[in-house]
């Protein structure tokens, strides 16, 4: 079946909030191991799109398929799909009452019903992957933004997801902390993790993304490799030009 070529298929997603139509029919396919960056002005539905993929926002129309199985309209099975679709948030959303290692292992214990010893081992391994094993016993309030975000990446990784959604993972961080988080993400990308990343970090997009999707007005306007978009003369280049002007 041709479907199997893609780990994730997103078909014609529509989503409105009241009268505001945020997504007006978005479709794309993702191959295993791909890193796709979603770029575009604020308010164009990029974050809503990610939240429609794991049904945190229920799309009004359209379908999402993970490994050929429908995620939309999956009823209580959505919880099984969410285990396979990790998510990393702009504001980390670490569980404030749990230490770093407990944050990573809680879903292993409660959702996957793993043995406590195995869960702890796995959690420590994932913290090691993001360079946070020395902070295992610290609580979220004791971590810097970059550290907290790395723990939240470890939390997503622990479920062994098929794909991880990153919703502006560095937008709440200063440049130095941004770099430490992006380094972890680059490492994941090169290790073959399938990642969808909503970001404003062009540096990351050009160096780590297989594909860049430029979104505006609730639609995909352009997509291609970073080079293709940079060398093209569409809306993307115009948008990047504007950002460049501000930076100078």
């Amino acid at each position: 079946m041709a479907d199997d070529e893609y780990i994730l298929r997103v078909e014609d997603i529509h989503k409105s909030f009241g009268k505001l139509e945020v997504l007006k029919g978005v479709s794309f396919n993702v191959k295993k191991g791909e890193t796709i960056c979603f770029i575009g002005p604020s308010g164009t539905g990029k974050s809503t799109l990610l939240r429609c993929i794991n049904q945190l926002n229920i799309p009004d129309k359209g379908g999402v398929y993970l490994n050929g199985e429908e995620v939309t309209n999956s009823g209580p099975r959505i919880n099984e799909f969410r285990q396979k679709i990790g998510m990393v948030f702009q504001n980390f959303f670490l569980f404030d009452h749990l230490s770093a290692v407990r944050n990573v292992e809680i879903a292993l214990l409660k959702v996957l019903k793993m043995d406590p010893k195995a869960a702890r081992e796995k959690a420590l391994y994932e913290l090691h992957q993001v360079g946070m094993e020395d902070w295992a016993e610290h609580y979220p309030a004791e971590l810097s933004g970059g550290q907290a975000q790395r723990v939240s990446i470890a939390r997503a990784l622990a479920m062994d997801p098929d794909v991880i959604l990153f919703d502006e993972p560095t937008s709440a961080l200063d440049p130095e902390l941004t770099r430490e988080v992006l380094e972890v993400m680059k490492k994941l990308a090169s290790a073959g993790m399938t990642m969808l990343v909503v970001t404003h970090e062009m540096g990351f997009a050009t160096s780590a993304a297989n594909r860049v999707v430029f979104m505006e007005h609730g639609l995909i306007q352009e997509e291609g490799t970073p080079e293709e978009l940079m060398n093209g003369d569409g809306r993307f280049k115009e948008y990047m030009g504007k950002i460049g002007d501000i930076k100078e």
């Binding site: 209580p76 959303f93 979220p140």
Partner: protein
């Protein structure tokens, strides 16, 4: 004067038994308050319309009536009508204080739950937790800690309210003090000792609760108790 002192000292053991009854009423009422108040709070925050309405009516009823009226209503009316007329005054008193406490405590816990950021639930659900799992493992442990200072305040409230159980003859502190006064005609000194005992168990209980608050505090995640 020496007579009065002797009388007071003679009756202190009898009053101390009343202290245990008062503490028993308070502890039972606090316990029942959590047992009912916490699920009610969950229902009010996460329940459907029907559940929310039922809880709202319950809270409206038990907060709307004076505690003495509730006590009479249950002792002379509702419990006998349910065939529970044989229940001891102590059980009825503790139950009424507990049912009333649940109404107040549910609102304390509701406030605690609503103060937890939406992101905590979002993150829990994104990991594949069901709503119930998220409430149990993520929301409640935080909400209870946040609610603890407000909830502690229920202790002196219920403790002092428990004295109304005098009206249905529970042998608590005030009832016993009144019995002694009726028998000895030593009024002021006995009521003073009774008052001192209320204050002592009040202070002692608050110390215990503050200790608990400090014990369960999360590093860097203030409950105000440091």
């Amino acid at each position: 004067m020496a007579d009065v002192t002797a009388i007071v000292i003679l009756w202190i053991p009898y009053l101390v038994e009343g202290v245990f009854a008062t503490l028993g009423l308070t502890a039972a009422a606090l316990g029942l308050g959590i047992l009912l108040g916490l699920p009610m709070a969950i229902g009010q925050v996460y329940g459907n319309r029907l559940v929310r309405s039922v809880v709202a009516i319950y809270v409206w009823f038990f907060r709307g009536l004076p505690v003495l009226v509730l006590l009479f209503l249950f002792y002379f009316g509702i419990f006998p009508a349910l065939g529970l007329g044989d229940l001891s005054a102590f059980i009825v008193g503790a139950t009424v204080l507990g049912l009333r406490g649940a109404a107040y405590q549910s609102q304390i816990f509701r406030g605690g739950m609503q103060s937890i950021s939406e992101g905590q639930m979002t993150a829990a659900r994104s990991l594949g937790m069901t709503r119930m799992q998220a409430i149990r493992s993520i929301i409640l442990p935080q909400a209870v800690r946040i609610s603890l200072p407000g909830w502690s305040n229920e202790y002196p409230n219920i403790l002092t309210d428990s004295a109304v159980c005098y009206a249905i003859g529970v042998a608590e502190l005030l009832t016993r003090a009144s019995q002694i006064v009726a028998q000895t005609y030593v009024t002021m000194p006995i009521y003073l000792v009774c008052a001192c005992m209320f204050i002592l168990i009040n202070i002692a209980g608050m110390q215990v609760l503050h200790w608990v608050e400090r014990r369960v505090a999360i590093p860097g995640f203030g409950t105000g108790a440091m």
